[in-house]
Symmetry: C2
Subunit: 161 residues, 2 copies
């Protein structure tokens, strides 16, 4: 039942905030996820997570389920032990990047639509900003391309491991 050191607690909060903002997770879900990312154990039990986060059973249950469904977190069991042990999904960095790809895809889609719309309906506006809008679209396209390459790298890396 050792206490968690102060600096680790703070890092958990910090990482939690980032995850919350970037992934739209609830505060508790983000904190749990951060806890698992920084945990030195290979899997924390439900009860342990409650103890660390000081949250209620129901909240932890619900938020863990969300994390599992989003594939951020996975669990395993030990024979002769009813508990579940939760840890970050083996592919969590890959998942993170796929999520990035997804949000880039969506943004690119919209930016294209905006450019197309302005070209049709606001020609003078489009002309004024044409190069800027296109510049941005190009940037997004390149970025997507780059993410795809990195994702492939990670895929290969995990296959060989």
């Amino acid at each position: 039942m050792q206490e968690i050191p102060q600096d680790k607690k703070q890092l958990i909060e910090e990482v939690g905030i980032m995850l919350e903002e970037r992934s739209g997770l609830s505060p508790l879900a983000a904190r749990i996820y951060a806890t698992l990312i920084l945990s030195s154990h290979d899997g924390l039990s439900f009860g342990k997570i409650i103890q660390i986060t000081q949250a209620s059973k129901s909240s932890v249950s619900c938020n863990l389920n969300v994390l599992v469904q989003l594939h951020y977190v996975e669990y395993y069991t030990k024979p002769g032990d009813r508990k579940r042990y939760f840890r970050t999904s083996q592919f969590y960095i890959k998942n993170t990047m796929e999520q990035q790809r997804h949000s880039i895809d969506k943004e690119l889609e919209i930016v294209k639509k905006i450019n197309a719309f302005n070209k049709d309906h606001n020609p003078e506006k489009f002309k004024n900003e044409k190069s800027l809008g296109i510049l941005f679209q190009e940037y997004l396209e390149e970025h997507r391309h780059k993410i795809n390459i990195k994702l492939k790298e990670i895929n290969d890396f995990q296959k060989q491991a």
Copy 2:
């Protein structure tokens, strides 16, 4: 007082949702911003924005002020006319990218901290995932680099214009 066509209304909503998610703007602020991005007029008046969004004066006032303070939107006036005319800031794409840079910076910062922490405290975990974590960090660093280059391009572009 012409009505706004249905397809444009829908595009406004779509763009609005994206802006809301990506920038953390309130729904109304995001809708206003989307409206201005897609507007064919060079600046919409306060009243016109109320009419389009069907929102209350106070909400529009408040959200417009937020958009102006964040430099997403700017306004100009005409001599002998008390109204303000609002339009997307001349630098809105640049602003968008600076925001991206900022969020990447923050994420990179955190990922570095995570890697450093795991290296110190969870050596076995760090070893297992070392290349993945580093891969991700590298990706973020490249991405930041790329954003900086694009930003410079945009800067130069706007200087010459």
